[in-house]
């Protein structure tokens, strides 16, 4: 079995950070351009135009897409390739180095004293979620996702009773739409909305972040029922008219991603997680032959 060691992962981590923070993910750029074509409000078009030119400028000049690096989470799936190293430590080191280079603003602080160590180090940074799936995937995968934190402010979570879920989940749908309406321009629309349903409280919260952070925004949910729910929610959300930057318009959300887990018969936890338009995500696949590929780059190659 192929093994990824400390040195390789550190090199890959540095590349991943630089790639992800100096551009918008190419799948999101595609959706932004499509939204610009369809948008009818002149102010909204002006904002979308700025977002698209900003994406090109960041990539061309190799500077941060957004001044706020947000909060970093690493999603790891270990399949056919072993990763034998302390993933959190390796990424923390690469993050501190990228901070020194001016690629990441030092934004991580003590939660109570608000003291800023100045290099994005600190307890729990970056957060790492690991899934072990040997035999299920013929590769191993590491995703880094920097998610802006203004968008975190209106995020919401509720544990429903079975009666509150309603017929075909109508109670859940209402809750999601009301949460989006209340958020208005805060999450830097056009946003992505992650919805986690099921498990216990913490499961729903984690699923909501994972749904919007690890999937390409252009993908279709393989579960037909969930794909239909995502489409229905996206349509309803865009009819609200919040618009880019919250200044009104046709483009409020670019995507809705729903992930579920089975839950207890007494409850239904639901989490709504907002993602700004500035998606800084890169997915790295380690293949058994030793090669490494970046999923977003492959996507960009196919669409341009």
């Amino acid at each position: 079995m192929k093994i990824v060691n400390d040195k390789t992962l550190h090199e890959v981590a540095s590349t991943m950070i630089k790639k992800s923070v100096t551009r918008v993910a190419p799948d999101v750029l595609y959706l932004l351009k499509r939204a610009y074509e369809n948008e009818r409000s002149p102010v909204a078009r002006k904002i979308l135009e700025a977002m698209i030119s900003n994406s090109y400028a960041a990539q061309k000049k190799s500077v941060p897409l957004c001044q706020s690096p947000g909060y970093p989470v690493i999603y790891v799936k270990i399949g056919a390739v072993k990763i034998e190293t302390n993933i959190q430590k390796v990424f923390q080191k690469a993050i501190v180095e990228a901070t020194r280079e001016g690629l990441l603003r030092p934004s991580m602080v003590h939660p109570i004293t608000r003291r800023n160590p100045g290099d994005n180090s600190g307890i729990g940074i970056p957060e790492v979620e690991v899934e072990l799936v040997p035999g299920e995937a013929d590769y191993s995968e590491v995703v880094i996702s920097f998610k802006g934190c203004g968008a975190e402010l209106p995020s919401a979570l509720k544990v429903f009773t079975p009666a509150e879920v309603g017929r075909e989940g109508v109670g859940l749908k209402r809750f999601i739409l009301e949460t989006v309406a209340r958020a208005d321009g805060i999450p830097c629309p056009p946003m992505g909305i992650g919805v986690g349903i099921g498990g216990q409280m913490h499961t729903a919260a984690k699923l909501s972040r994972k749904a919007i952070s690890t999937r390409l925004w252009t993908d279709v949910n393989p579960d037909v029922g969930l794909a239909r729910l995502e489409e229905e929610l996206l349509r309803s959300i865009n009819s609200l008219g919040i618009g880019p930057a919250g200044l009104g318009g046709d483009t409020t959300a670019l995507t809705v991603k729903v992930e579920i887990a089975y839950t207890h018969t007494a409850i239904c936890p639901v989490a709504v997680n907002f993602h700004c338009w500035a998606v800084r995500r890169i997915t790295t696949r380690f293949l058994p032959d030793g090669s490494i590929l970046f999923v977003e780059d492959e996507y960009a190659g196919k669409t341009t």
Binding site: S68, S239, G241, G248
Partner: protein, 200 residues
């Protein structure tokens, strides 16, 4: 028809009064960054009767914390863009009545208190395109100084010389108009229609 203006700091009452919601503005001159911790300290200093490091009369405050690096002992800004403005809403009275600020630049909504202060003291709330630090940084010509770096790089006050800083969109003007109130009304109407259709 959307009007476009270029303004030079410090801003006057006349500069501000001609602006209407949806107008596009570019700023030339000096802007000051300030976010959560700087606002808290400004409030503390005023309460304690301490002198502020900056004269904010006619000033433009940018709700922002830059990404920076030091090159040959000089600060260089690698990225700067708006942060969520409603966190600064509780400081609205101080900012306009005590400091004499004329314009805020940020993102997302600001509330009724800000709307009232902008009307009473003459000022505007401008939206910078969110998440667009790579293009916004191009209009920063020079870092003139910084204060309160002990609060951390994002939370310090940065004094920036800017040229054609924008595009900024007037979201709340000095005549009591707010794009956010218009949008909210439409959003609530749409939400009620959807809720009604979803009965089941």
């Amino acid at each position: 028809m959307i009007a476009e203006y270029e303004l030079v700091t410090p801003l006057s009452d006349d500069d501000v009064k001609k602006l209407k919601v949806r107008d596009i503005v570019y700023i030339n001159g000096i802007i000051y960054t300030a976010r959560d911790l700087a606002h808290i300290r400004i409030k503390d200093y005023l309460e304690e009767g301490k002198e502020l490091p900056v004269d904010f009369r006619g000033a433009v405050i940018f709700h922002a914390g830059p990404a920076v690096r030091k090159r040959n002992g000089e600060w260089e800004i690698t990225g700067i863009g708006p942060t969520t403005s409603y966190r600064m809403e509780p400081f609205s009275d101080i900012i306009f009545s005590k400091l004499g600020v004329k314009a805020l630049i940020g993102k997302g909504r600001m509330g009724e208190k800000t709307l009232e202060n902008l009307k009473r003291y003459g000022g505007v709330f401008l939206i910078a395109p969110p998440g667009c630090s790579a293009i916004i940084v191009e209009s920063v010509e020079e870092v003139l100084s910084s204060f309160w770096l002990d609060l951390g790089v994002p939370e310090a006050i940065w004094v920036l010389k800017v040229r054609r800083f924008g595009p900024l969109i007037v979201a709340i003007d000095s005549h009591g108009n707010s794009i956010f109130n218009e949008v909210e009304e439409n959003v609530m109407k749409a939400l009620n229609e959807i809720r009604f259709a979803m009965k089941g």
